[in-house]
C-alpha cells in the first residue's frame, strides 16, 4: 500500500523480493546498496542468522528522485527463502506495492523455484492480492553458472503470464538495476492508474 504524504510531498512504496532460499535476494539488495549514492539511501538492515541466512527480512530504503514535485521513496524488502519461514514471509508481503520474483537458474533448484512461486501466489492470495494484478517482474539469477537452465525453459516454467523478466548475475550487478527499474516503473504506473489517470 503506497503511502502518499501531501504535506511533506512524498510517495512511499514497498517492493518485496521473493524467491527460494539462496537464490540471491539479499545479494540484489547488497549490490543496490553498494552502488547507490549515500544521499539516496538509508541504512541497510539484515535480520539474519549467524550463518548469514535471512531470518526475518532485509530492508533498504532508497530515494529515486522527484516526480512532479513529489519525492519518491522505495522501501525494498527481501523475505526469508527457506521453506519453514513461511509465517514470516506472509508478514512481509503485507502492504506490498510491487514484487520481484528471483529465480535460481540452476537445474537442481527448479523444484525449489516452482515451490516458492506457488507459495508467493498463495501468500498474496491470503492477503487479498492477486499476483497477476500487482506490479510484478521476474529475475533469473545465477546465469553465469555452468548448470544454468536455458532461458526458454525457465520462462515456460516460471513466467507463464510473460511479465517483464531479466537475466542476472547478482554479485556482479548484472541485471540488478534493470530489475529494480522495471518494477519501480510498474509501481509508479499503477499509482497513476489508481489516481484515475
Amino acid at each position: 500500500m503506497s503511502f502518499i504524504n501531501y504535506s511533506s510531498r512524498e510517495i512511499n512504496c514497498k517492493i518485496v523480493y521473493y524467491g527460494p532460499g539462496l537464490c540471491g535476494k539479499t545479494t540484489n539488495l547488497q549490490y543496490i546498496y553498494n552502488k547507490t549514492n549515500p544521499e539516496a539511501k538509508g541504512k541497510m538492515i539484515s535480520l539474519a542468522t549467524e550463518t548469514e541466512r535471512t531470518l526475518f527480512f532485509d530492508f533498504l530504503p532508497l530515494s529515486l528522485g522527484e516526480i512532479r514535485g513529489f519525492k519518491t521513496r522505495f522501501h525494498l524488502y527481501t523475505v526469508p527463502g527457506q521453506v519453514f519461514y513461511d509465517a514470516s514471509r506472509k508478514l512481509i508481503l503485507k502492504g506490498v506495492d510491487g514484487v520481484v520474483y528471483v529465480g535460481d537458474s540452476q537445474m537442481e533448484r527448479m523444484e525449489a523455484n516452482i515451490e516458492s512461486l506457488e507459495n508467493l501466489g498463495t501468500n498474496l492470495d491470503e492477503q487479498g492480492y492477486d499476483l497477476h494484478k500487482l506490479p510484478y517482474v521476474v529475475q533469473y539469477n545465477k546465469r553465469d553458472l555452468p548448470n544454468a537452465i536455458p532461458m526458454a525453459e525457465l520462462e515456460e516454467a516460471l513466467n507463464p503470464t510473460k511479465v517483464p523478466s531479466f537475466e542476472a548475475v547478482a554479485p556482479k550487478g548484472i541485471g540488478v538495476f534493470d530489475t529494480l527499474k522495471a518494477v519501480a516503473k510498474l509501481v509508479l504506473t499503477e499509482l497513476r492508474k489508481g489516481s484515475g489517470g
Binding site: N5, G69, R192
Partner: protein, 160 residues
C-alpha cells in the same frame, strides 16, 4: 489492488500536535507514529539522533510478528509492548488497528506516566486517523497530481 493511505496537511498537523503534547506531558525523549507497513508518519522530540526510517521498519516488523504470535495463541492482538533498556525504554501501542504509536523514554519519565499519557493520546489519534482514512477513500478515483504523471516523468527518474 493498491489501497493508498493519503496524508493531507490538516491531519498531519493534528497528528504532529498529538505527538508533541504526548512527548511533553510524558517527559519522553521522542514520540513516533508509524504506519503498520513501516512508513514513518510523524515524530516529535529528540529525533535528530535517531534513524527514524530504520526504527519504523523494524518496529512494524516487530508488531507484525507479535500480531502473528497473538493469532497463533487465539488472541486478537497484543495491543501493547514494552522494551526495557539500561538507558532507553520503548513503549509500543497499536492505534485504530492502523498505526503504531512509539514512545522512547529514559529516567526522566516512568512507565506508569507513559501509559497514562499514551491512553489519552491514542484516543485522540484514533479520531484523526478515522478522518484520514475516510478522506483517503473519498479521494481515490478523483483526479490528482499522479494522474498527470507521464511515461517521460517515470523514465526521467532513472536517468543516471
Amino acid at each position: 489492488m493498491i489501497q493508498q493511505l493519503v496524508m493531507y496537511e490538516e491531519e498531519l498537523q493534528q497528528i504532529n500536535h498529538i505527538c508533541e503534547v504526548l512527548q511533553r506531558d510524558s517527559n519522553a525523549r521522542a514520540v513516533l507514529v508509524i504506519d503498520k507497513n513501516g512508513q514513518a508518519v510523524a515524530q516529535a522530540g529528540e529525533v535528530e539522533s535517531l534513524d527514524v526510517t530504520s526504527l519504523s521498519s523494524l518496529t512494524a516488523g516487530n508488531v507484525a510478528a507479535t500480531g502473528a504470535i497473538a493469532s497463533l495463541l487465539a488472541e486478537k492482538e497484543f495491543a501493547g509492548q514494552f522494551h526495557e533498556g539500561e538507558k532507553t525504554n520503548v513503549h509500543i501501542s497499536i492505534v485504530g488497528a492502523r498505526v503504531i504509536l512509539v514512545v522512547l523514554f529514559d529516567e526522566r519519565s516512568s512507565l506508569g506516566l507513559v501509559r497514562l499519557r499514551v491512553r489519552k493520546a491514542a484516543a485522540e489519534l484514533a479520531v484523526t486517523l478515522e478522518v484520514m482514512v475516510k478522506k483517503s477513500a473519498a479521494g481515490s478515483g478523483a483526479p490528482s497530481v499522479f494522474s498527470e504523471i507521464t511515461d517521460d516523468d517515470i523514465d526521467n527518474l532513472f536517468n543516471d
